[in-house]
């Protein structure tokens, strides 16, 4: 179908959407209709209201997201998100690569929390192979340790960039300074700063380097006071509260119906954490709370609540990191004969089946749907359910009638990563 010439927006729209041949059936026509409705809406809005493009290069859209705003003065009447600028064909790649070869691609989905992605993917493949119970405890603990470290790093970015969206520059620098420690540690373990390819099906790339546990404990001790400082600087900051409290309120029923998960859903007041609900890996052995939004500064489910849930989750993750370190330094201590690749299957050919694995990524419910035919090492279909994808889809709903400046606050509080939205 032809693309209308947007320079002369309103006139020839009808000509553009004549079906290409007369026998074009109902389906073809209905498809054209959806596009036609969209272009007509934009064309009319350009006459009556103002159409404003935010992105794809706008820094506060956290990547290459384009938001088309229909505004009446400073009031946002409608938000139309346009995705796909970072589409890298993850699912198409996964259909032509073996499971093990796909792991580096999962890292590139939510590139701020790569460990969590590969953990979910690997867990799904292991369950399909039926080897998930044979994984040594030390490997599971190392996986959870690096995942929680990565979750802290991801939340630090969310908080830091949220501050900078609202206009506070210092927390951004502080968060990046502290995140740098985590990046350094994970680089030490895996050899790479952001895209680790560390968790493999049936094991790990390598054991943790000697001295990692001590260094990690040092970091935890260093980081705890920094969190108090960050809270003093940002969480209780009056300007920050006025910008975020009672803004972008997401009611719980809307959140559930739109498939929001993770800090978005918990910010709306529901204790829903798959680490507790499904109890996968070794999470049942760890002690942690599930922070939820309480509406302390405004309404339950506002931007401040979502922000606060992330702050509280960092503390819980630190607690989990400490517990993992306790076990890794005592009963699961490294031994010279420990081989993290010992349980790795030589050929990964799961039985013919479908399997949907879900786990709690840094942004919410991260799912992979696998279809294996039982004959080849290559899956017939892999669908990834990125949490950011569903979290972002609620944006048009909760940003009706807000100010443009508030829209920035809402977008920042959703904390999406475009790599995962577009995949």
């Amino acid at each position: 179908m032809a693309i209308p010439d947007l320079k002369s927006r309103s006139v020839q729209l009808k000509d553009c959407f004549v079906p290409r041949n007369d026998e074009a059936d109902k389906i073809r026509f209905t498809l054209n209709e959806a596009l036609q409705r969209y272009y007509e809406k934009i064309a009319n809005a350009a006459v009556e209201d103002m159409v404003l493009n935010m992105g794809p290069q706008h820094p506060s859209t956290h990547g290459v997201l384009r938001l088309e705003l229909i505004t009446d003065g400073e009031i946002v009447k409608e938000v139309i998100p346009h995705l796909g600028y970072l589409h890298r064909c993850f699912e198409k790649h996964a259909e032509s690569l073996t499971y093990q070869q796909t792991i580096p691609f999962t890292d590139r989905m939510d590139y701020l929390a790569s460990m969590n992605n590969s953990h979910a993917f690997v867990m799904g493949v292991e369950r399909m192979m039926g080897i998930d119970k044979d994984i040594p405890k030390r490997i599971e603990y190392i996986r959870v340790l690096v995942c929680e470290l990565n979750r802290i790093a991801s939340h630090l970015i969310a908080i830091g960039t949220y501050g900078i969206d609202i206009g506070a520059f210092t927390p951004f620098l502080w968060c990046f300074r502290d995140r740098e420690h985590i990046m350094g540690m994970l680089e030490w373990a895996s050899g790479s700063r952001m895209l680790y390819n560390y968790i493999w099906v049936g094991g790990l790339f390598y054991d943790l380097p000697v001295g990692f546990e001590e260094r990690c404990r040092e970091f935890v001790d260093y980081f705890k006071p920094k969190m108090i400082e960050l809270n003093e600087l940002l969480t209780d900051n009056q300007v920050f509260i006025s910008r975020t409290a009672n803004v972008g309120v997401l009611p719980l029923d809307v959140a559930i119906n739109y498939g929001c998960s993770g800090p978005m859903l918990r910010g709306s007041g529901l204790k829903w954490d798959l680490r507790r609900i499904d109890g996968y890996s070794i999470y049942p052995e760890l002690e942690f709370d599930i922070p939820v939004g309480t509406g302390l500064m405004g309404t339950v489910g506002d931007c401040w609540d979502r922000y606060k849930v992330r702050i509280d989750e960092i503390e819980q993750s630190l607690k989990m990191v400490e517990q993992c370190l306790d076990r890794l330094q005592k009963e699961l201590k490294r031994t010279p004969e420990f081989d993290p690749r010992a349980k790795m299957p030589r050929k990964i050919i799961p039985k013919a089946q479908d399997y949907y694995v879900r786990c709690e990524g840094a942004k919410g419910e991260l799912g992979f749907y696998f279809m294996a035919d039982g004959k080849s090492e290559i899956p017939t279909r892999v669908k990834s359910r990125g949490p950011s994808f569903s979290n972002l889809s609620v944006l048009p709903e909760i940003s009706k009638g807000v100010m443009i400046a508030d829209l920035i606050a809402i977008v920042g509080s959703i904390d999406f990563v475009l790599g995962e939205v577009d995949r």
Binding site: M1, A2, I3, A24, D25, I27, R28, T30, L31, A34, L35, R37, Y38, L83, G84, H87, C89, E91, K92, E95, R127, M128, I256, N257, Y258, G259, L270, W272, I277, K351, Q353, D354, Y355, Y356, R358, E365, G367, Y369, M371, T380, R381, K383, R385, F389, S390, S393, V394, E397, D422, R423
Partner: protein
């Protein structure tokens, strides 16, 4: 609610022919549903206080290969109060003609999270959803030709006269 319980619930409400089959024995059991009634089934499963599947985890469009010429949609539902999961599947044969897309009822009126997922299934596999409020492409450009995740898809060589390397 157990798998058998859900089957009984659906059979009592819609008649036994709404369930056209089931896949058990694997890690996750799935119910094969009559494709035309999937929206009603989802509405009932969401609203019935005994099942209460209020969360649509994932919606995947599937191309079952060039030999069978079947297209399907897989729904992964979750119930937050009961902490249960359920897989529903619908499928249909199709000629793979781009002018005659496989068509299923949309469940956007039941779960809003299906909105973007259905747009993605349309974009990637060319599955049409009847009653979807805004079925445009979501990840690919609006004027992209063909549906990339179909098994018979040929990689495009040019996009708007630009060679794709």
């Amino acid at each position: 609610m157990s798998f058998e319980g859900i089957k009984a619930l659906l059979a009592a409400k819609f008649g036994a022919d709404v369930i056209v089959g089931e896949e058990t024995g694997g890690l996750q059991s799935a119910l094969l549903i009559d494709a035309d009634r999937i929206a009603d089934v989802c509405l009932e499963l969401r609203n019935n206080p005994d099942s209460y599947f209020d969360f649509l985890s994932c919606l995947s469009g599937v191309d079952y290969g060039t030999e069978t010429n079947r297209f399907g949609v897989v729904y992964h539902l979750a119930s937050i109060p009961y902490k249960t999961q359920l897989t529903l599947k619908i499928s249909k044969e199709n000629s793979r003609d781009l002018a005659d897309l496989p068509s299923f009822p949309s469940i956007v009126s039941v779960y809003r999270s299906a909105d973007w997922h259905e747009r993605e299934a349309y974009d990637m596999l060319g599955i049409f959803f009847e009653g979807h409020p805004d079925l445009r492409r979501i990840l690919m450009p609006d004027d992209w030709e063909g549906f990339p995740l179909r098994k018979d898809y040929k990689n495009a060589e040019y996009y708007k006269g630009i060679k794709i390397d």
